[in-house]
Amino acid sequence: MVRCQKVSLVYPFRAATVRVLSDVTFDVRCGEFVSIIGPSGCGKTTLLHIVASLLAPTTGEVELNTAGGSPATSMVFQENSVFPWMTVLENAAFGLEMRKVDKAERERRASGMLERFGLAGREHAYPHQLSTGMKQRVAVIRAFLSDAPILLMDEPFAALDRQSRMKAQLELMELFGSERKTVVFVTHDVDEALALSDRILILSAQPGTVIAEFPVPLERPRPLLPEPGDDVFEIRREIYAALGLTSMLAGVACAT
């Protein structure tokens, strides 16, 4: 469980101060998948760093109820998500290594997971020999292997092309289905949030604060893209409205 209580972050910039986050309050239940959507620069990454206790909030607090697991969170970054100097296997097993799981055991678990997700044969490759999509998938596998009950993902698939992204999303859904973790997922992509989440939070532009919340009333497994006639089409429109992007859905008339 994640509970954010009036989290604010202010940092000094030249003579003034910049308010990055303002009274961000939300809960994520155990085993829930929550996405956070917001415009660029609204402090989504900063918020995740605070939840991961890599950064202290100026005011407010974060409570993580994790039933004793330590560390409580595993993060997946958008870029630099794998260590360039470790092989795929070492990267995937890094979380277990930090938990002092012995080498044979962690390699067994990591290679099992890599094999399950089509990365067999690449265990001893270095990240520079992989595509961006594969790197991100390795990072996601590492997060799920780490034993941390809460996973924090910072636009992990934003840099991928559409096909690789859908593949990575499907894998994430499969892992989420089988491993039962709590996930906080930051994204720009409304369709991605709809495909993956139980609930979607909308953050406003700087200073970031939660301005709307949408439950996603879809069963799992569900299609990655909404199909015409789904209830989700209405929610999608409302999310665009909350983001102030309604006009974009309408398109632009072309002069002929």
């Binding site: 260590f83 360039p84 780490s146």
Partner: protein, 253 residues
Amino acid sequence: MKTVRSFVAGAWLIALLLGVWELLSRGRILDPLFFPAPSTLLITLVSLTRGGILGRQVMYTVERTSAGFALGLVCGVVSSAVISLFATLRRAAEPLIWVLYAVPRLTLLPMVMLLVGVNDASRILLIALGTALLMMIQIGDAVRTVNRDYVDMAVNYGASRLTVIRKVYLPACLPQIFTAMRISFSRALVLTISVELLSSDNGLGNMIWNAWQTFAVEKLYVSVALAGALGLLVQGFFILLEKRLVPWKDGVA
């Protein structure tokens, strides 16, 4: 291996120049007294090697360079590690390192001799100083440019301070450390030979100076060529070593 292959591919130009030189010297268009033909130099090289003098002089140079380099490397790496652990110390030490680095090393030779004496210890000390300073500057720079994401990631997975140094900082800095080592060794070799030219009764530098003083032109050419070959050999060695120990290098931004 690619490095070796591209070097071999470029060797035809060297061969061509040597061939032209040979013809010009044999045809007396170039005065053989000043420009002895490469084939003559090869004979000189063989006869000098047979006498065993050449090997011994080269060994003197190699020993001084290696001793100074090794001492400087250890001091440089240890000092860098200590400095990087304490922010206050680092801020104080950095300007000092830069000031010392800016002084041409060779000009310090008389001072070091004044303090340590006219012996090999002072020569090795000077070489070590040069190596240590360059290593410290390069390592300081490498540590500063380590991507924050990797540190955050390791900390997030519960890595201790020591583990972060071992698992993130060290491997992240390794490529730059290797480059620094390669440059340092080349500089150390240059410095050794310069010191030997100025104040030594053996080594390649001394041999070059003696050859000049006695107008032994062929010996002069051979010792200069040897100094070059030695530098090349060391460069190659470090490049191969780096390929072995830093297999992920292509992927480090």
